[in-house]
């Protein structure tokens, strides 16, 4: 009873804080949510791999970078929109992910975690250098009119395009939930993620499931790479900062907690933009990121000990 009351008070406080910020500085919420959408939609595929295959894919951002370059080539050659190109690009990236899994990740699954980290780190460096050789370090950016879509309320004018990432993140969470709970392959993936040995005993092909999940996740991040080029410039090192950010968001949410990644991203996005709203704290966005991670993980540890 007391717990329920505490939870209700906590929820009321959050609603009041959000309402207060919305009135005082609406852009904190607007841009905070937009940033959260981008963070979450890149982190969710990594969370899927970590939750089921139990491997930290340090080449996650680089897969997105490869997909972004692929989309750039397809769009410039055929004159099509990235939203059209994202389906074939996602399929190609998924195939590449599956091949990479079979050739490399699979061989290191039973190896110590450090070896797995070194392997995916090596993959990340290889992909970056390959892009450097093929495309040079010069940045590329395609211009699309809809990216500057704007909404004006009174004197406030703000971009609305980046809400597309919020929609993508929400769709990813819903889609993955449906996949994992309503399909045979998804249920098998969930079982493998929870207990691979037990899953193997009941006849689930663990290796095949790992391959499928890895391909699905790389396909999803490939799709994100296609959409990423609508808002951002691309260059060989564009993906690596997102790998670290994604990993930290997953750590905040808790491994295997896909909806939690969305929540952690909202917390991070709004906190960052809250600090950016003050002249004195504009440069603190990166610090708040690590403060939040430390606080959440520490809080969880203390709670776990008490329990």
């Amino acid at each position: 009873m007391a717990n329920k009351r505490n939870a209700a008070i906590f929820a009321a406080l959050i609603v009041a804080a959000v309402a207060g910020i919305l009135v005082w500085r609406p852009t904190v919420i607007i841009y905070g949510l937009q940033a959260a959408g981008l963070y979450a939609s890149i982190a969710i595929p990594m969370g899927l791999i970590l939750g089921i295959v139990h491997i930290v894919n340090l080449a996650h951002g680089e897969f997105m970078m490869v997909a972004a370059y692929l989309t750039y080539m397809v769009c410039t050659a055929l004159g099509i929109d990235p939203f059209v190109a994202m389906i074939p690009v996602a399929l190609v990236t998924a195939l590449v992910g599956f091949i990479v899994y079979k050739l490399t990740i699979r061989q290191a699954l039973k190896a110590p975690e450090l070896n797995q980290l070194i392997l995916t780190f090596g993959l990340a460096i290889s992909l970056t250098q390959l892009a450097n050789l093929l495309f040079t370090s010069q940045t590329r950016k395609m211009s699309f009119g809809y990216v500057s879509a704007s909404l004006s309320i009174g004197e406030l004018s703000f971009g609305v395009y980046n809400f597309v990432f919020v929609a993508i993140a929400v769709l990813m969470v819903i889609g993955l939930r449906l996949f994992l709970t309503r399909t045979t392959a998804g249920k098998a993936a969930l079982a493998v993620g929870q207990n691979p040995k037990g899953a193997a005993i009941v006849g689930i092909d663990v290796d095949k499931t790992y391959g499928l999940v890895f391909a699905l996740a790389t396909g999803m991040v490939g799709m994100m790479g296609a959409i990423f080029i609508t808002r951002s410039s691309i260059f060989p090192a564009v993906g690596s900062p997102f790998t670290m950010k994604s990993f930290c968001l997953i750590a905040m949410a808790g491994i295997g907690n896909i909806p939690g990644i969305l929540g952690a991203s909202v917390l991070l996005g709004i906190s960052e933009n809250f600090l950016k709203a003050f002249r004195e704290t504009r440069g603190w966005a990166d610090i708040v990121f690590f403060v939040l991670i430390i606080t959440v993980i520490l809080g969880r540890s203390i709670k776990g000990k008490k329990a």
């Binding site: 841009y31 940045t139 004006s152 971009g159 395009y161 410039s233 933009n273 950016k276 990166d286």
Partner: protein, 410 residues
């Protein structure tokens, strides 16, 4: 026996054919004379270094095709500094001790140059530097480094030339009025240094303010808060100091937020590929040293540009290309006048350089705050007009009049 004779004849034929081919490839310089070795370091994975080395090779090939220097061929030996100070220092050590180069050229980042200075001082070889804008490099060199010829303007040279440029533009074009300047700067060392330098430079003459942002080059790319601060400030001149990855996304967000400063100016070290093709690029101003439009007012620029296009089938994208090309020509000219590659003679000849460069200006060496031999001391103010970078100032190399104010977003 006959078979052996046949084999010997075939080998002899192959060797003579190879020798003839080699002679053709080496141009008209005498085959016996040892080449003059020019050692160079650039970051080859970066477009500045890559194109800098390509342009230097173009100059070497042109000079060799015209007979070389003092009857000897030029040979360019390039080592990648990987944008790292330790690699840059090791590259100089290798070029001097293993390759035995006669002089050194190149360079881009100030951090790398700072790492190279101790090695350069140790050997005191002639250096024609194409990069390193930080005044800290000059401080590291000291006044006694008479072997160091610096082509690129120092940061304080650049700042002063911007101030001079805006004064001159406001005088010539009565409609251009600047009172308030806002600088959006990337939160790293480059942006912070730009903010400090600009505040000192513009703070007295203009009302000045600024705010940091995280560059897309380092995982940022959200400019909403900095643009919001700028919009609230209402600047006549909005200037951003970041990287090429920030150029178009920042414009897209500025348009979405309906942010319309009188002048929208970017100061990245390079621009994204095909930036000029974006409709958002129109009338954006920039600082730089060279643009293809200078071909129209400078025959040296046209010669460089045409040669680069013919050799590589791609357009020079940064001013490091004409600057590196100039370094080779300046070196060749000095060696010719010195009559040897002896360091003392070469320093004397280089000090008397008077070279009509592709930058659209004549390069001479004069003292700067500390060193004795500073080449270029000014930057140019340019504007993207119809997909081309047009020079607005200095007026002697101007290729177009400024479009002012920056048109309102449609």
């Amino acid at each position: 026996m006959k078979k052996a004779l046949l084999v010997i004849m075939i080998i002899a034929l192959a060797v003579s054919a190879f020798a003839m081919g080699a002679k053709e490839a080496t141009g008209t310089a005498p085959a016996g004379a040892a080449p003059i070795k020019i050692g160079a370091t650039w970051p080859l994975a970066d477009i500045t270094g890559k194109q800098g080395s390509m342009a230097a090779q173009q100059a070497v090939d042109e000079i060799n095709a015209a007979g070389g220097v003092l009857g000897r061929k030029l040979e360019l030996i390039v080592v990648d500094d990987e944008l790292k100070a330790d690699k840059g220092a090791a590259a100089i050590e290798k070029l001097v001790t293993v390759d035995n180069v006669d002089l050194l050229i190149g360079g881009m980042a100030s951090g790398v140059a700072l790492g190279q200075i101790p090695v350069m001082k140790k050997y005191a070889k002639v250096v024609i530097s194409t990069g390193a804008a930080s005044y800290k490099v000059e401080e590291g060199l000291g006044a006694e480094a008479d072997w160091y010829f610096h082509l690129h303007p120092w940061d304080y040279n650049q700042g002063q030339s911007y101030a001079d440029g805006w004064e001159a533009i406001q005088k010539k074009f009565g409609n251009v009025k600047i009172q308030k300047i806002f600088l959006a700067y990337e939160e790293g060392a480059f942006g912070k240094a730009s903010f400090d330098a600009s505040k000192t430079l513009f703070g007295g003459r203009y009302t000045f303010d600024g705010a940091p942002f995280k560059s897309a080059a380092f995982g940022g790319g959200d400019y909403a808060s900095v643009l919001e601060a700028a919009k609230k400030y209402g600047p006549d001149l909005f200037l951003w100091a970041g990287y090429d990855a920030d150029a178009l996304p920042m414009l897209e967000q500025a348009k979405a937020m309906k942010f319309n400063p009188g002048i929208y100016l970017g100061a990245p070290p390079g621009w994204p590929a095909d930036f000029g093709k974006s409709p958002l690029a129109e009338n954006v101003m920039l600082y730089g040293m060279w643009a293809p439009s200078i071909n129209g007012v400078s025959p040296a620029s046209k010669k460089f540009y045409d040669g680069f296009m013919a050799k590589y089938n791609t357009e020079p994208a940064t001013y490091f290309a004409p600057l590196s090309y100039s370094a080779v020509y300046i070196a060749a000219d000095a060696i010719k006048r010195a009559g040897s590659t002896d360091t003392a003679a070469l320093i004397k000849a280089l000090a008397a350089t008077n070279y009509a460069s592709p930058l659209g200006q004549t390069i001479t060496f004069t003292p700067s705050n500390i060193i004795k031999h500073q080449g270029v001391k000014n930057q140019k103010i340019l504007q993207w007009q119809k997909g081309r970078q047009e020079v607005i100032w200095p007026f002697e190399s101007a290729t177009a009049a400024p479009v002012y104010p920056f048109p309102a977003w449609k």
